[in-house]
Amino acid sequence: MKDKQFWIIGAAITVAFLIFWMLGHPGFNGERIVMFVAIVGMAGTLIYYIRIAKRGDSFFLRTIPGLKAVEEAVGRSTEMGKPVLYVPGIMDMDQVETVAGVIVLGHVARMTARYETSLNVPVSRAIVMKAARESVREAYTLEGRPDLFHEDIVHYLTDDQFAYAAGVNGIMNREKPAACLYMGKFYAESLILAETGNSIGAIQIAGTASQAQIPFFVTACDYTLIGEEFFAASAYLSQKPELMGGVKGQDMIKAGITIVIILSVILRLFHDLGWIGWDVLNFLTVQ
């Protein structure tokens, strides 16, 4: 689908929607128009850039130190003949961070398959156990080493936050992994893991969007993927065009949001000065 077609379809949809809106938008909740425009606008931007990436244009992406270190960490474990410990967070597949953690696990599993390093993935949710096993099995077959894969690489400990942390602590003290990767959604147990990982002298790389845990990872780990950097990780590691396009699309949306913020500050200024009656604040209040 060439650029020209994309814009024609886009224009057609907008015109159709305007006509529908003029006709009194039957069956459409008018109050949530801002969210609707935001969703369609942002999804459209993402699709536009994903399409360009698929067509072959390459994008420049700045380096993220934490991701470069993942390959080094797996290499280090291979030299020392020690396992790699991968913790995909303690939440379920309904959290997008957990799903992102399982994606990064897939790439790490390809590295451990290539380097023939042993991989240990303790999980705290049954659905995650299933998804992680599929992801690791797929990675080992893609690297041509299905023989190295066995089900117990990914094993379930418990659903409870602290029983899980205690269990992972036990694994760290017993197996002494050379690299500990924490990728997913974390709560208070993040420090128990990072502190124990510190005391066994492992390289620690963390990636999470859990705001409250980022400070502990930043101070206690060697590298930390902060918030959005963690979500962009799968694009960086896979170099898949549609994922790279997605990251580029997100950047464009961020630029758009910055402009909207500045615009709404100015509009509020005008409103407060009485120059315009229209109040931007209740426009942005969504029911």
Partner: protein
């Protein structure tokens, strides 16, 4: 100077269990021998207190319990202090829980404050509607039709038979919401699906670790003030005038903080000395 540097480095290699012993003592001793440092309410606690104090007497307040055993020490003192404040001003308190173990916490709070301290009557001054599963779906259910979601209260009596449920059909019928929350579902879901859509004023008490995620809502006024962790509870106890668990923990909290700050400074001084020495050799 060199002797001091060596001494600091030697401490660096010290077994970390000495640090554990120091922290244990620093927290235990003030519990046995309280120092009684005066508590100065911060701006955010004062805003929450004023928001609830300005309610005219006898208004209907929805209080929601979203915490469990592992966060009880921080949040329980808050719910005690807020309950004392609400009952002192003769408000009607309706209690819901978004966490299953939140209901155990609510039972304990009612037994000690409502029954023993204020000896109020269940069903007239306070009612425990109890836990309903579904996370944010429960908040949405309360907004649209509370009677459909809570056909009975936690003790099995039909909602229609509870006198104080008169005139209560949806969230908008309440005058104020206070949520004591330690994570998901909690304050954010109450702001997103409860207070924002209906405009009912809301305040909250959270664990210290969750303060940062709720701060933007407090700063933009969607949440009226905030009680942050055990210090927040102690400050609220001071404003209500009845010292409780929060106040008794404050001395231990203060001394422990000073010790941890010293550890950070000491640790980094040792780190600098090591780096200087490595540069030399």
């Amino acid at each position: 100077m060199k002797k001091i540097a060596d001494f600091i480095l030697k401490i660096g290699e010290m077994d970390r269990r000495w640090i554990f012993i120091i922290i244990a003592l620093v927290v235990l001793l003030p519990l046995f021998f309280p120092i009684g440092l005066p508590i100065r309410p911060t701006d955010s606690t004062q805003t929450a207190y004023d928001a609830m104090d300005d309610l005219e007497h006898g208004s209907k307040v929805l209080m929601s319990f979203e915490y469990g055993p592992s966060t009880k020490p921080e949040i329980h003192p808050m719910t005690y202090a807020v309950l004392r404040h609400l009952f002192k001003n003769k408000h009607k308190v309706y209690i819901t829980c978004l966490w299953p173990d939140g209901q155990f916490m609510a039972e304990e709070a009612i037994e000690e404050i409502a029954e023993q301290e204020f000896n109020l009557t269940y069903g007239k001054d306070y009612v425990l509607l109890g836990f309903r599963p579904g996370n944010e779906a429960v908040v949405k259910g309360i907004v649209s039709n509370i009677r459909k979601l809570y056909s009975t209260d936690a003790r099995g009596t039909l909602t229609d038979k509870i006198p104080m449920m008169e005139g209560i059909n949806k969230l908008a019928d309440f005058d104020f919401i206070f949520t004591a929350s330690a994570g998901y579902p909690g304050t954010v879901e109450w702001v997103q699906y409860g207070a924002d859509p209906t405009g009912v004023p809301m305040s909250t008490g959270v664990t210290s670790i969750q303060v940062n995620e709720v701060m933007p809502y407090v700063q933009s006024g969607q949440v009226k003030g905030i009680l942050a962790g055990m210090p927040g509870a102690a400050e609220y106890e001071k404003l209500v005038g009845i010292p409780g668990i929060g106040t008794s923990g404050m001395d231990a909290q203060s001394v422990a903080h000073v010790v941890i700050v010293l550890f950070i400074i000491f640790g980094n001084v040792a780190f600098f000395i090591e780096r200087q020495r490595q540069k030399k050799y």
